[in-house]
Symmetry: C2
Subunit: 348 residues, 2 copies
């Protein structure tokens, strides 16, 4: 069987079936946003890897080298955010062509190191390998947890409210805007007050991991489970539900769709709902909360928290309740790197 016929999630399930169960010092192994290792002296280390591949996640024209590096750090930091930790170090492994331009690679790595510094981490190592293929930027991030406390995908319980941070679909809209410009991204991102479209470009090119929020949710004990939205709300919700052995109901009217997506709708006939559910690369946090009053201490007005539904029984699957009250079962289809169709799909 080929990878594209099986898909990434099913592949990881096959792998997990074959691996021995985690044993100390591994507290959380494969299958969550990051792994957690307990060290004898009382600390826990969080660790996660994620790659950006030229031609898949970016092209030389869509993303300047500095932003490739910045994004590679941010998407990894998002996994640490989802576990409630703070990043301390990153390693960058590049597979590059022998005739790659040194200046571009240095820009990439300086962007990476600079972004790591903004997030409280240092670039401490990595590797440079020759490759006849596309540029592959693989980043590993190390974080520390708050004592031994971590947020995981597992823990959502029947009746918990389902919450999401920020606004959805912005990154997919940014990707679409770059495609419209024949695949050429802007060389930089305007600062100051941004239009909705500029905001979407920024969310796509230079995503913001929700570290402060993840730390708050972990410290306060407000959330019972958490995942970051990297492959679309529908697919990442399905992962959280699978890990927690629950179902969920999403309220269509409650979904906080980014206003830039609404603008794009008129221009390109794009369905904003599809962007929100399956656009991918939002890097917001999706989490479950038994008592919403415990979110009252969250005081960052730039990162809104929105209740978008509730946890339901396991057997009921994941359903979307439309504005007219009708419900449909939502397939857990986000952006699968290996799906034969390159398009995100929402099926009945």
């Amino acid at each position: 069987m080929k990878l594209c016929d099986l898909g990434e999630d099913a592949f990881l399930e096959e792998l997990q079936k074959r691996l021995p169960p985690s044993a100390p010092p591994v507290r959380i192994g494969i299958g969550d946003d990051a792994a957690a290792l307990d060290l004898p002296a009382g600390e826990s280390i969080l660790v996660s890897s994620d790659s950006l591949v030229e031609g898949v996640h970016f092209t030389a024209r869509s993303l300047p080298p500095r932003f490739i590096g910045r994004k590679a750090v941010a998407v990894n930091a998002s996994d640490i955010a989802a576990m409630g930790g703070r990043p301390v170090a990153v390693l960058a492994s590049l597979a590059a062509r022998r005739d790659a331009e040194v200046d571009a690679l240095l820009d990439l790595l300086m962007g990476l190191a600079g972004r790591a510094g903004e997030l409280g981490a240092s670039l401490v190592g990595g590797n440079l390998a020759a490759s006849p293929g596309p540029l592959v930027v693989d980043v590993t991030i190390l974080g520390v947890s708050q004592g031994r406390r971590v947020l995981t995908r597992k823990g959502a319980a029947l009746g918990d409210g389902l919450f999401v941070s920020g606004r959805l679909g912005a990154s997919a809209e940014g990707r679409r805007l770059i495609k419209e410009r024949s695949g050429a991204g802007p060389g930089t991102i305007p600062s100051g007050s941004l239009t909705p479209a500029e905001e979407c470009l920024r969310r796509h090119m230079d995503p913001e991991p929700r570290l402060e929020l993840g730390a708050f949710l972990c410290r306060s004990g407000a959330a019972t489970s958490c995942i970051d939205i990297s492959d679309g709300l529908a697919r990442d919700l399905a992962r959280l539900c699978r890990a927690s052995a629950v179902g969920a109901v999403l309220e269509e009217a409650a979904l906080p769709i980014h206003e830039g997506v609404r603008v794009g709708e008129g221009e390109a006939g794009r369905e904003p709902l599809a962007s929100a559910l399956a656009g991918g690369e939002d890097y917001e946090l999706l989490f479950t909360v038994p008592d919403p009053r415990r979110l009252q201490d969250w005081e960052n007005p730039d990162v809104a928290l929105t209740r978008i539904g509730a946890v339901a029984e396991s057997g009921s699957g994941i359903r979307l309740r439309a504005r007219d009250g009708s419900e449909r079962v939502l397939a857990a289809e986000g952006w699968d790197h290996f799906a034969r169709s390159g398009l995100p799909a929402v099926s009945e």
Copy 2:
């Protein structure tokens, strides 16, 4: 400038110049075999990344998937060995084609997880990304040090003896043997008593990181500096000398060249000295010792320790003393992934 004109080491130097100096909790940043992070509770974490790229480090025919996985772990564990630590966890990031065979990838990852287990570590995470290019296997390894004690490349002092473990050139000979078979490696490795040629194949396909030795050198305080030999003795010695700001004299007659390389010499006209100096992928440890009596407690007869020279003043460079007593300056040329010539070179 292109990467192949600059080379990997010079590229890393350029990068280091631009990065801010390491600050706590980073004790050792870019530039050694692994980075070291000090955690508040008193432990130190070692971390390192290394990749294997299809078409560069292996081909689908030269190395069965299980051995790709095993080797990817072993070469990373070798970096932890060189710092005197023990591995605890590995992460594996694969960039694979969408039509890659699931069974082959699972074999690879099970080989990787199995080898990690043999070395005391667990596979705890990773990532799977679609890539239109060759298979890239990027492994990050986490290790723990003995208290805060680590071995580094820095610390060699004038007059220290220069030592190497095991025998050199075996991996390069194994690579040559596979090339002779039209690039097809054996599907597995014979067990039991091996011929010298089989031993060379094993060292190439399934290298043995010197974890026990690294731990001994670190614990006993016998070594003042240490590096693993991944890119050839000449090049890795140059790295150690650069980090320690010293020179070195190698004794040609003392070099422990693997007997399989001597056999290969007659068959293929290969220069055994070149294999030993620049063959690469030996994954032995190269270390400096002020007082050789402190090595007397090393009791593993399968891993011989050989004195191959001495540390000299910085200005004298790295010299090779021939059997007739004449000396030549050895260029620090090992196997540079980005060198235009694919051949290891030893120049006058």
